[in-house]
């Protein structure tokens, strides 16, 4: 088992693209006409519960349904026009992008540095591993609830400590609350991403660093010239997951702020839920869902293109 795990990571990185095609064509050339059916359960399952709802979202966006009557009825473009002219939706979109970008700006450097750090240390690795990973094990609901109690201006940690600058209106001030959301998101996801970076760093051949040291490059220079470029694929993967993740972050925000105060944290995912299930407007809610899907797809494609052809091919090639 150790060998398998060991050989696996060796294939990553730009240089590893070469062996991949050879192996896959080897696989493919064997007579395997009879395996196709094995893929049917998974494809059927995903088609039914994944692809059909996806089409459904698009179709429902042209229909009217309040969730109470038995069936939706055709409406036409009405929902689209009302949503695309609704300032609340545009605000939600702005908030979503804002949180996405700021989350990335906060989480990526921290995860990167942490990943590099944990890849190196050996001494406290066991203890660190357990502690660092803890936030990832908690559900978003649990984390939000804990922070909600902690930040309560009247009954929380800050209030009891009696330190005024700490007892700000964290969850009630429209601007502060955004920082809180980004902080809690980071608290929850940095462990995961630092793990990705840790894995990525562990695959950088040490010869590269040694060669650079011999050439006289300093620590910082080596970091920027070797570590970062070698981590390109990891950065793309991590960023894609991070960006799509923060765009669809519903649980955390729903429990922490419910979209408030006012509309200050009403991101797209929340806007969709509130329109559909609270205001009984499934049609407009579906429009928002369509927007989320389109943006998600767009971002994923964009990031993949940013990663360059090789990242693309080493994934696609194998399949």
């Amino acid at each position: 088992m150790a060998t398998t795990t060991g050989t696996a990571p060796a294939r990553t990185g730009p240089g590893a693209a070469a062996p991949a095609p050879g192996r896959t064509s080897e696989h493919r050339s064997t007579k395997t006409g009879s395996v196709a059916w094995m893929a049917i359960p998974a494809v059927a399952f995903f088609a039914f519960f994944g692809a059909v709802p996806l089409v459904g979202v698009f179709v429902l966006s042209f229909m009217q349904w309040d969730g109470l009557s038995p069936s939706p009825t055709w409406l036409g473009l009405g929902n689209w026009t009302s949503i695309l002219t609704d300032p609340v939706m545009w605000r939600a979109m702005g908030l979503t992008f804002g949180i996405m970008i700021f989350s990335w700006l906060v989480q990526t450097p921290i995860s990167l540095l942490l990943g590099v750090f944990t890849a190196g240390t050996q001494k406290y690795r066991a203890v660190l591993a357990v502690l660092y990973f803890l936030p990832l094990l908690m559900s978003a609901a649990a984390i939000s609830i804990a922070f909600k109690a902690l930040l309560d201006p009247n009954f929380g940690l800050a209030a009891s400590l009696g330190v005024p600058w700490l007892a700000l209106n964290w969850l009630g001030d429209p601007t502060l609350v955004l920082f809180v959301v980004i902080f809690v998101l980071s608290w929850m996801y940095v462990p995961f991403h630092s793990l990705l970076y840790q894995g990525g760093v562990q695959q950088i051949p040490k010869q590269m660093y040694e060669a650079a040291s011999i050439d006289g490059a300093g620590t910082v220079r080596q970091f920027f010239s070797i570590t970062l470029p070698q981590l390109k694929y990891t950065i793309i993967t991590s960023s894609t997951l991070m960006v799509v993740g923060s765009m669809t972050a519903f649980d955390l925000i729903f429990v922490l702020t419910g979209g408030g105060p006012g509309n200050s944290t009403r991101v797209l995912a929340l806007d969709m839920y509130l329109r559909a299930f609270r205001a009984n407007q499934m049609g407009p809610g579906s429009v928002i869902a369509c927007l989320i899907v389109l943006i998600g797809l767009g971002l994923a494609l964009f990031l993949r293109r940013l990663g360059g052809k090789d990242a693309n091919s080493s994934q696609m090639e194998g399949l």
């Binding site: 309040d66 969730g67 109470l68 009557s69 038995p70 609340v88 909600k148 309560d152 201006p153 009247n154 209106n169 964290w170 969850l171 009630g172 001030d173 429209p174 702020t257 419910g258 408030g260 105060p261 006012g262 509309n263 200050s264 509130l274 329109r275 299930f277 609270r278 205001a279 009984n280 407007q281």
Partner: protein, 433 residues
Amino acid sequence: MLAMAPLAGAALSACGTSGPGGSSGGGGDGKASWWYLSGDPNETIRKDNIASWNEANADSTIDITFFQNDAYKTKIKTAIGAGQAPTMIYGWGGGTLASYAAAGQVMDLTDWLDQNPDVKNAVLPASYGPATIDGKVYAYPNENASPIIFYYNKRVFEKVGVSAPPTTWDELMSLVDTFNQAGVAPIGLAGQSRWTSMMWLEYLFDRQGGPQVFDAIFKGEADAWSNPDAIAALTLTQDLVKAKGFIQGFESITADSNADQALMYTDKVAMMLHGSWTYAGMKNDGGDFVSGGNLGWFDFPTISGGKGDPKDTCGNPGQYTSISSGASEEAVQVAKDFFAKGIMSEEIVQKFVDSGQVCIAASAADKFAASEDKDFLEYAYGLTANAPVFQQSWDQALSPATAEALLSNIDQLFSLSITPQQFADNMNATLGQ
């Protein structure tokens, strides 16, 4: 791992609702279901109520489930839409009830009530208003009327040296300064629940311009929200927020857990505008706060130059229970029996009165004088019975979609993110929905 699959499968199939036979409204013989709000004292009252009902009626039992207020309002709609509504649906009448009726999801009770005059007349006639849609009654009024009361904490008032609660808006505003200077939050508010903030607007609109302001809105008249009185009321609200009238952090306090009531009985705030049911809550959870005579109340202040009658009140004229039209015949029968004999039985009426609530049973008024909460009950009852106008809570009177827009705008108004004019513009766009 593979061996677990059949086990899991067996367990799972036991957990789901069955196929075509498993319709809504509690599917089995003689078994009805009821969804109700959590929170004492009513939660315990109803729990006991159902327990003794089930004992006495072993073949027509009722299954009661409790939900928090805000979660309930969303959950009930998804359940109704899924055809999984409980037999008996707890509600507030008005626009939401109208939307259920329009979707054919609740039963028309008009004829049944006419055929059972004892049941019909067991509750005050005035309470049928919010239950009546287009002349037909879709819910049975029961439980208690909840006028919105302006409470004050006598202990805090004494400590800060304020002798009497305010009678005019200007007095209120100056008290806000007094309390802030003394380091006590003037008013407690569970802003995150939003309908709590709405209570302020309901009173201000009426005091400023009389009931006709909201009436126009309810009727869907164009630009009804831009009425100068409405704008004035909205402005006054923001003045109060800007003067730090509400406790720091109010935007993230929810009413579900009674956190706002806790602020009152832990002396963190001086005043609170809230429904009359909170008296029972504070009496229950606040130790000797209520019993020690520390809780006071006063009429909502008047506004100088305002057109509204100072005796107008707002709130909920009662609680409204509907019967799901998808329920089985047996379940409906159980529900009707319960309406006739259980939901407002003598015992229950007495319990409501004992807990300090304004029961709308025709027989309740006599009981108030004998109660230990006589002062409060007679005040609240007077408020209800003598009000020239008793305005139903806006978020229940209006349609669900409008209500959601309203609450959302109220949220922004109170967090000072929009101006009164923008509020009016936003809400005008929802008129007639």
